[in-house]
């Protein structure tokens, strides 16, 4: 059963929604474990029952090693997001956030986006691809606006809808043009029939805008900062990780499956996008004061690093990107676990609110510092290793200037990540500040994520496995 994991996610989403109808508010605490268990079961099914290669539904739904790893990533980030959300939704917090609730709907919507992303990587024709992308994106608009009576959250949802609709329209136009040019909706058939004509370049530009929107590539990043800031913290975490992964998966589908012959020619363009994205993300992040907004620009710059793997369309880029995506997921979610915890306990989201955290909660401050250093690419953490592999791709493609830009950008990024470290470690705590409590779920999640972000850089087996399975994935 190739699509067993997807079926489990659907069943789980429906199950959560149905259960939500039948039980009373007090018992709704079981919804989060239900959703989490569902994703865990899907993960088991993915590992046990899904082969590395196979297709069904007349070749329109297929699995290959790259798709398989993307699904691992989506399930993993979904699962962790649920673990990060449940304290907030169940009200186990120090400062109650108004207008948050509706647990049944929340988890159902979350599961629906995960389902969309999983189908997205398995789609093999334009229609499925587009529909699954919409399934992955539309529920996110709802999630961003989840705090009903909060103006910022509403604004976030609204902006996201408008920009998202715009991006979807561009993308649909691009896909339509491609269909018109080739007369086929099968991705693999399109590849062979494209010719170098203006209509093709128009389609390519439209698709670039669409991909750029999902991946927050400059200049298509405008929505990110406001949406990240307005959305509830766990949703921001999900947006910055899973949604970005979906963007990458979509880029894989378009660039490698459909426009494979053209990727190498676009190397200079990709390099410029990467350089501009990381530079803008990093420089703007320096002046942010709200931690979620700050993380939005940090995530934009990370997207810049991520697409370095496309430069030159090299085979080594595929495992490098997949590995970095997993590293980024673990690292960013570790940082967000701290942010979610802090906002749950204090209701505060400014960077200077973190002052003295190393005196009151030394272990959480340590975890947060590790996460930030990993994002900045400091060895021996996994962020360093992942970036090193990506930089190596650009170097191999001959783009030494891009390596220099990226490496200098890492230094800039360290400057603003150190701002938070400074608040936590160098600034004294407020008078009378006491230790803040942490719930067991969040504590365990944080420990696991921190351990993972250290070990993934030291133990080579994860990268070696990905590399062995996907290095020969590109047909060339």
């Amino acid at each position: 059963m190739i699509f067993l994991p997807e079926l489990i996610v659907v069943a789980c989403a429906v199950g959560v929604l149905a259960a939500d109808l039948w039980i009373d508010e007090r018992r709704r605490v079981i919804l989060a474990p239900m959703a989490a268990l569902g994703l865990a079961a899907a993960m088991v099914a993915l590992i046990v029952a899904v082969p590395q290669n196979g297709s069904t539904l007349g070749g329109r739904f297929a699995v290959d090693p790259v798709g398989w790893w993307f699904k691992v990533f989506f399930l993993l980030s979904g699962l962790i997001t649920i673990l990060l959300s449940l304290d907030l939704l169940d009200g186990r917090v120090g400062v109650r956030m108004r207008g948050i609730g509706f647990r049944g709907e929340y988890y159902t919507v979350l599961l629906a986006t995960i389902l969309g992303m999983m189908v997205l990587v398995s789609a093999r024709d334009l229609i499925t691809l587009y529909v699954s992308l919409e399934l992955a994106t539309l529920p996110l608009f709802v999630l961003a606006a989840w705090r009903r009576d909060n103006a910022q959250s509403g604004e976030a949802g609204m902006k996201y809808v408008i920009f998202g609709a715009m991006a979807s329209a561009c993308m649909l136009y691009g896909l339509g043009l491609l269909y018109g040019l080739t007369g086929s909706t099968a991705l693999s058939a399109i590849d062979h029939q494209l010719r170098d004509i203006p209509a093709f370049w128009l389609a390519a530009a439209m698709l670039t805008a669409g991909i750029g929107f999902k991946l927050t590539i400059v200049p298509f990043h405008f929505w990110a900062a406001d949406v990240y800031q307005g959305a509830p913290a766990p949703v921001t975490a999900y947006l910055s990780v899973a949604s970005k992964g979906a963007g990458l998966a979509f880029a894989f589908q378009i660039l490698y499956r459909m426009l494979d012959g053209w990727v190498a020619q676009a190397a200079a363009g990709v390099a410029v996008f990467a350089a501009v994205t990381m530079t803008l993300g990093n420089t703007v992040a320096i002046v942010q004061n709200n931690i979620k907004r700050f993380m939005a620009f940090s995530a934009i710059s990370q997207a810049g690093y991520l697409i370095m793997g496309f430069v030159g369309g090299l085979a080594e880029g595929v495992p490098a990107m997949l590995f970095y995506l997993l590293v980024y997921a673990v690292t960013n979610l570790a940082v967000f676990a701290c942010i979610v915890w802090f906002s749950n306990q204090t209701g505060k989201e400014q960077i200077e609110d973190y002052r003295g955290l190393s005196r009151t909660n030394p272990l959480i401050a340590l975890a947060m510092m590790l996460g930030l250093f990993s994002l900045a690419g400091i060895p021996p953490l996994s962020g360093f290793v992942g970036k090193f592999f990506l930089f190596s791709i650009a170097s191999k493609a001959g783009y030494h200037w891009l390596v220099a830009v990226a490496a200098v950008n890492s230094t800039i990024s360290l400057y603003y990540y150190l701002r938070i470290v400074r608040q936590m470690y160098i600034e004294p705590a407020d008078e009378g500040a006491t230790r803040l409590p942490i719930t067991p779920t969040l504590a365990v999640t944080l420990v696991v994520l921190s351990a993972a972000l250290v070990l993934m850089g030291i133990i080579p087996s994860l990268y070696e496995t990905i590399s062995a399975q996907t290095l020969t994935w590109l047909p060339r």
């Binding site: 495992p319 250093f373 400091i378 060895p379 021996p380 360093f384 290793v385 090193f388 592999f389 930089f391 190596s392 170097s395 191999k396 030494h400 390596v403 220099a404 490496a407 200098v408 890492s410 230094t411 360290l414 400057y415 150190l418 470290v421 400074r422 470690y425 160098i426 080579p460 990268y463 070696e464 590399s467 062995a468 290095l471």
Partner: protein, 513 residues
């Protein structure tokens, strides 16, 4: 796990041990730290002995060798698909640097005996930093090297930011960013080397067998050299150094000026010159000119300083200039001098910064003009200060003389591919700094220690306590030993430098200088 891995593992395990102790027990923590460093010192002696057992037989063979020969090698595949290995070993240069680091950290921990705020975090960060330093000196895989290199730089931010003095946050940020800016260029260079070699390996010895084209060497060499040069305080990228050193707490200044700045010279020699000899020949004169500025600028800058730490920091810029000057001069004598200077300056400046910390802890001022006559109250510290000062101005019998005379002789002899007149002029200019050094060292120390006691508060000060006496005594003894019996070091270094030198001269074996 072999002995070389233990050189890296002991500071790391000490860190873990300290992490396990509750923060309130700060007396235990410093004992754990000093025990760990003591064990490391013993291990270093053992490794040196084993190394010399094997290496002494090979020195003659190395005269014609083009490849570095390593001892006590450990090699394990790591990221196999990218050709990254855990590859550590020891050769003469790294042995000398390991001895230096081991001595400095041991004395540095003793000099930090009275750090009582956030002791646990202090020692954790200090030992993490040292783990990185040891890693750099024994790694022969570029990936591993780079990993340890950055690990050694980063803890500095918190060490200066939390325990520093003066404009500490500014200095910490400036230092961290400038050093990582340098390492960005090193990274570009390393990746270019990896891909250009076509060997699918980061192994330094394998890369040394690759044929890099002249054009390639011409642009990669300055990238890597400047990248390391930032840490080696290459003019005009040295500006982090005075601020950083003067804001840092005692042990951190010791380690940073004593050891970390040497990573710059070490990397420039070991990687830039060794792998890219043609590039080195093209750029040698340019970097000699820059480092001459370094040497003169640093020493003149030191004259003007009123703060003891700035004073020493500028003198460090000048002395680290000698290291890079020797590396850029590219003959055997000068290269030998560069390595000797790394060792000599490391010990000397470690002693200087250690002493400044001890004096400051008593007088609560570092301003030279406010002090005076304190030799009467603290004779031990005064004597030690003078030993360091005399080594710094190159008095024969102390290590500085040996190192600097090698560098100058090497620079004066010149080499076959550079305009010898220009090299000699630069060398003569650089030599003049010795006079300037004598001026500022003797004047500065006389002001601080002799004359009438200016401040009645100084009448009640006491001399060095036992941990401080051990710390400074050990360093002074090393300075004297290295000055009186320099062949102990030169023998070790020579065998390791021959391959680098031979590569510069094609395959022609050269003897003499």
């Amino acid at each position: 796990m072999g002995l070389v891995s233990w050189l890296i593992a002991i500071p790391f395990l000490t860190t873990l041990a300290i992490l396990a102790v509750p923060a309130g027990r700060w007396r235990w923590i410093r004992w754990i730290a000093v025990t760990g460093c003591g064990i490391h010192l013993v291990l270093t002696v053992v490794v040196t002995w084993l190394f010399w057992q094997q290496a002494s037989a090979d020195v003659a063979a190395m005269k014609t060798a083009l490849l570095t020969k390593l001892y006590l090698v450990e090699q394990v595949e790591w990221f196999r698909s990218l050709g990254i290995e855990y590859f550590v070993g020891i050769d003469g240069i790294s042995m000398v640097m390991v001895i230096l680091t081991s001595v400095i950290i041991f004395t540095g921990v003793l000099a930090s005996w009275y750090v009582e705020t956030r002791t646990k975090e202090f020692f954790v960060l200090l030992l993490t930093l040292v783990t990185g330093v040891f890693g750099v000196f024994v790694s022969f895989d570029l990936f591993l090297f780079f990993m340890f290199y950055e690990l050694a730089v980063l803890p500095m931010y918190l060490l200066i930011g939390i325990w520093g003095t003066g404009p500490k946050e500014y200095s910490a940020m400036k230092l961290t960013l400038m050093l990582l800016f340098g390492s960005a260029f090193i990274l570009v260079g390393f990746l270019a080397l990896y891909h250009a070699s076509g060997m699918h390996s980061f192994n330094l010895l394998k890369l040394a067998q690759a044929n890099f084209s002249g054009e390639f060497q011409r642009w990669v060499f300055p990238m890597i050299f400047v990248g390391f040069g930032v840490l080696g305080a290459l003019y005009p990228l040295h500006t982090w150094s005075p601020d950083g050193h003067s804001s840092a707490p005692t042990a951190v200044s010791m380690l940073h000026a004593g050891v970390l700045m040497k990573l710059g010279g070490y990397g420039a020699l070991r990687i830039a010159v060794y792998l890219l000899p043609e590039g080195a020949k093209d750029w040698g004169l340019f970097f000699m000119a820059l480092t001459t500025v370094n040497i003169l600028y640093g020493s003149f800058g030191a004259i003007m300083q009123r703060d003891l730490k700035y004073f020493t920091a500028y003198s460090s810029v000048s002395h680290c200039g000698f290291v890079l000057f020797g590396v850029a001069a590219l003959n055997l004598m000068a290269l030998k001098g560069a390595v000797l200077q790394m060792f000599s300056h490391g010990i000397m400046t470690g002693l200087f910064f250690g002493l400044i910390g001890m004096v400051y802890g008593r007088t609560h001022t570092r301003n030279i003009d406010e002090m005076g006559g304190i030799a009467r109250r603290m004779p031990w510290l005064a004597v030690m200060f003078y030993i360091a000062g005399l080594a710094s101005l190159g008095l024969p019998g102390l290590s500085g003389f040996i190192a600097e005379s090698h560098v100058f002789l090497g620079g004066f002899f010149g080499n076959s591919w550079t305009n010898i007149t220009v090299m000699r002029v630069l060398t003569i200019l650089a030599t003049m700094s010795i006079v300037v050094t004598a001026v500022y060292v003797l004047r500065g120390l006389a002001k601080v220690f002799f004359g009438p006691i200016r401040n009645s508060h100084f009448e009640h000060l006491d001399d060095a306590k036992l941990p401080e006496r051990i710390s400074t005594g050990v360093l002074a003894v090393v300075l004297v030993v290295a000055g009186v019996a320099p062949w102990l070091l030169i023998n070790m270094i020579e065998g390791a430098l021959m391959p680098i030198f031979n590569r510069l001269n094609g395959s022609i074996a050269m003897t003499g200088f």
